[in-house]
Amino acid sequence: MIINKREKNSVVIFDIEGEIKRSDITDVTLHQLVKDQLETGKKHILLNFEKVEFIDSFGVGEILASYISTHNLGGKLKLARISKKLFLIFQVTMLTKVLDIVEDEETALQGFFKD
């Protein structure tokens, strides 16, 4: 899994590539990357899932932990460009009840300041 960070309109965007699985872990976890941003005062986080093929229970834990850390500080975490297959699994497992999942990056960026 590869995670690249960029910023747009004071929103931190993480472009994730590969599978978020415990068997495919990098030196720093996604949650740790999000926490690092929160510590610097950045509270708007966007996870770009365009190149995410699949996630396992570890990935679910990472996403939820990132969501909780962001939310507890009054920030917002959104997911964009998630595949239809993953979205369906998110729906069935009710992750969509918690996570703010939007179609594309532009909608997500607007959403951070509209809400």
Binding site: K21, R22, S23, I25, V28, T29, Q32, G41, F54, I55, D56, S57, F58, G59, V60, G61, E62, L64, A65, Y67, I68, S69, T70, H71, N72, G74, S83, K84, K85, L88, I89, V92, T93, M94, L95, K97, V98
Partner: protein, 809 residues
């Protein structure tokens, strides 16, 4: 340069912030320029009325207060239709013109126009009710509660100073039968007031001052359509319990104050040293009592309110009046008349007025103006009018009779009025207690919860464990049919294999039926894929599997399998070990195969470890705890290990504590152990974490505080020592003072939440984070009422510095 000098001078006298100097001085002058003419008008009013009509006619004068209600209604309508600036300037113009008229007509009183003092009485009442209310409306527009609380003493002093000047002018220049000439001073002062009001609005516009109350600018109409007629104002009060209480308090204050007014005037009217020039006496008396008020205001009001909040200042006023009322009942002499009237007016203008205006501040702006119009303008007058009826009742009970000495009858009337006052004061004190309690609730209402804790949202909205199981089931599908089958069985056993999940994990069978699931067809179809729809009935399946797992031969076979795979390396062996670990997790705690878990927990693969930890969490064997704790060091196994350890519960607190306190352990392990303890969350854990904090675990300070905060959010009645928390807050204050780290502020709030209402503290924190001018002010106001003085003194400098450094918007 001049601005800096002004700021320096003012900051010595009053707690004023940079940028507030000019508006504060202008408002100080505004209040001065309305109370100075009013004190002259009032001295002329009282002197002339007693001279021409006498104290026995005062009930009729009080009753005319009802007429003021009509003016109030008219004023309310005007208030809704025209801008604040136009309203105030046109009111001032009206009073200037009518004062000229009275100046021209008063000489006719000696020619038989004895009713003119009564008309003048009404005019004077209209003057005070309209002009003073308009002043407080401007204050409420410009400042939020926190700012107002800080500056209210300063504005009040301006009013008192104006009153003293007006009183001295009346005292020095009033001549018997020519007191109306004092109206020339009134005209000059009102003209100056007009200039001052103009300057205030011009400055506010120029400086683009951010208004309180949702940014509604004075003069601008509310966003909502306002119906500020009498009925709308009445309904606003009627529909709101807090405003109803305020209304009752104001009514009782008015009744008691008017009863006292009559008692004192009754004594003054015939007191030999006073009766010759009543206007001059009232001028001197008013100036003297306002001087006392000014000293009281400067030295006491702001401090009283800042130190004790609203409750105590609200209590002082009625309590002192009660004492004085008892005094004048026993001895109706000049000394007591001066004491009771002096106490009433001095406390009314200082402590009571300031505290009462603060009570209005948390009321929503659209309600506030209507309520203020009704309560201050109408009810206050109505209470005075009702005293007219009460007094006429007393006169009926104790009539003047030729066979009774005049003064004896009047003294008896004064005594009865004292008893009536005492009854009203008792009710008034009770309502003051109630209204001050409601004030805090109203401030809380203002503080909306900006966001909810993320963990609570997740807990409420979904079942994380099942979601993870589904993801693992899907993941296992491409890895091993056995592992996949075990996941399905696990879901079935946990009664989580809902039709939706069944369709999701067994997608081939739904291919034809559910077109929308076509997106899942990306994975290559495996010939061995299990079809959940075609399985045996769940209860039969469960029974059969349980029976197999209880067989000795099964265990012998599986042990052999374990012997073989545990030693092996490679991907196939990894899958086999995952299957073995998953199978063990499906067995009961006493299963002989549980003994192989130790080896599986030691396996290097995080995938094997994930299933082994699942099994360990189920069996809760103490010997596995060190292995699980080791796994906290690795990011790929940390979350699974944390979840497994959490399931052990309170029985491993001691073991976890050893790791937490061991500085040789990696920081990641100690942090994760803290998180596990937070998850266990019993009162014992909280006590242990507090001890660890007090013991100086500096590097874990924030994690330990966060853990305690999590526990407290789930356990509202968690017993925590205030003293221990105070010591920890002192540490955080020192951190903030030295390093200015925002994390110290967050920690302070989390620590406060341990000993005060977690909900209130969380709200206050969120509103400080939102950083609008009003949200910060209301948050500090809530903290003011929630936490004890000692704690306030400790943290308020930090919060004020933090909010000043992180500019509000």
């Amino acid at each position: 340069m001049a601005k800096n000098r002004l700021s320096r001078i003012l900051s010595r006298v009053v707690d004023i912030k940079p940028g507030e100097e000019r508006i504060a001085l202008l408002l100080f002058s505004y209040f001065f320029l309305i109370t100075a003419p009013f004190m002259i008008i009032k001295s002329v009013r009282d002197g002339m009325y007693l001279d021409e009509l006498g104290a026995d006619m005062l009930p009729y004068a009080y009753a005319t207060a009802l007429l003021v209600g009509l003016v109030v209604s008219f004023h309310s309508k005007l208030q809704a239709k025209i801008s604040r600036k136009l309203l105030i300037l046109s009111s001032l113009a009206f009073f200037i013109l009518t004062a000229v008229l009275f100046f021209l007509l008063f000489p006719k009183v000696s020619k038989g126009w004895t009713w003119l003092p009564l008309i003048y009485w009404i005019w004077a009442n209209v003057f005070v009710v309209v002009i003073v209310t308009q002043f407080w409306m401007v204050v409420n527009d410009v400042f939020n509660p926190r700012e107002a609380k800080r500056l209210i003493g300063f504005f009040g002093s301006g009013g008192i100073l104006g009153g003293i000047v007006g009183g001295v002018l009346a005292w020095q220049f009033a001549k018997p039968n020519q007191s109306y000439k004092l109206l020339l001073f009134v005209l000059a002062l009102l003209a100056a007031c007009t200039v001052c009001v103009w300057a205030i609005f011009s400055w506010l516009k120029r400086s683009q001052w951010v208004m309180s109350g949702g940014g509604q600018k004075p003069g601008a109409r509310s966003q909502e359509p306002q119906q500020a007629g009498f009925k709308a104002c009445l309904n606003t009060v009627r529909m709101d319990s807090y405003l109803k209480l305020l209304a009752a308090v104001v009514t009782l204050t008015g009744i008691v104050s008017t009863l006292i007014d009559w008692q004192s005037k009754r004594v003054f009217e015939h007191w030999p040293t006073v009766e010759k020039n009543l206007t001059a006496f009232f001028g001197k008396f008013n100036a003297g009592l306002l001087l006392f008020s000014l000293i009281f205001q400067i030295l006491m009001t702001s401090n009283l309110i800042k130190r004790f909040g609203i409750r105590l200042p609200l209590m002082i006023y009625p309590a002192i009046l009660l004492l004085c009322s008892m005094g004048i009942a026993g001895l109706p002499i000049l000394l007591f008349a001066i004491a009771i009237k002096g106490s009433d007016k001095s406390l009314s203008y200082s402590v009571n007025q300031s505290a009462r205006e603060l009570l209005y501040i948390p009321v929503a702006p659209e309600k506030k103006y209507k309520a203020k119009a009704f309560i201050d303008m109408f009810l206050n007058r109505f209470s005075k009018a009702s005293v007219g009826v009460i007094l006429l009742g007393v006169f009926l009970v104790v009539p003047l009779r030729p066979d009774r000495p005049y003064l004896r009858v009047q003294n008896l009337r004064v005594q009865i009025v004292s008893l009536v006052s005492a009854c009203f004061i008792f009710v008034w004190i009770f309502l003051n207690l109630k209204v001050s309690k409601e004030y805090v609730s109203t401030v809380k209402e203002k503080l909306g919860r900006e966001w909810e804790r993320g963990d609570r949202i997740v807990d409420r909205a979904m079942d994380v464990e099942t979601a993870k199981l589904v993801f693992d089931a899907l993941e296992s599908k491409n890895r091993s049919p056995d592992l996949y089958a075990m996941h399905l069985y696990d879901l079935l056993k946990k009664d989580k294999l809902t039709p939706e999940i069944k369709k999701l994990v067994g997608y081939e069978s739904d291919e034809i039926r559910v077109a929308s699931l076509g997106v899942l067809m990306e994975a290559e179809e495996s010939p061995w894929t299990v079809h959940p729809d075609e399985e045996l009935p769940p209860e039969v399946l469960q029974k059969e599997i349980r029976e197999i797992m209880e067989l000795d031969s099964y265990h012998q076979l599986m042990n052999g399998f374990a012997d073989k795979v545990i030693q092996e390396k490679g991907q196939d062996a990894e899958t086999a070990k995952m299957e073995l670990a998953k199978a063990i997790s499906l067995m009961d705690a006493g299963s002989p195969l549980a003994g192989r878990l130790d080896e599986l927990l030691r396996d290097e693969s995080s995938l094997v470890g994930r299933y082994a930890m699942e099994a360990a969490a189920k069996f809760k064997a103490r010997e596995h705890v060190p292995l699980l704790i080791r796994k906290l060091a690795d990011p790929s196994t940390r979350e699974d290990a944390r979840a497994a350890l959490e399931k052990y519960g309170a029985k491993i607190i001691g073991m976890l504590g050893d790791y937490l306190e061991d500085p040789a352990e990696p920081p990641a392990v100690r942090e994760a152990v803290t998180s596990v303890l937070a998850g266990i969350g019993t009162p014992d854990v909280a006590e242990f974490l507090l001890q660890a904090l007090a013991g100086g675990q500096e590097e874990l300070q924030s994690d330990l505080i966060d853990a305690l905060d999590k526990i407290r959010s789930r356990t509202p009645n968690l017993p925590v020592s205030v003293e221990a928390v105070r010591m920890l807050i002192v540490k955080e204050v020192v951190h903030y003072t030295h390093e200015k780290k925002p994390s110290a502020v967050i920690n302070i709030f989390k620590l406060l939440g341990l000993v005060y209402s977690h909900e209130d503290i969380f709200r206050a924190y969120q509103n400080i984070q939102v950083r609008t001018k009003d949200s910060v002010a209301y948050a500090l106001e809530l903290l003011d009422y929630t936490i004890e003085k000692e704690m306030r003194d400790l943290i308020f400098p930090v919060l004020e510095d933090f909010t000043a450094a992180n500019k509000t918007v």
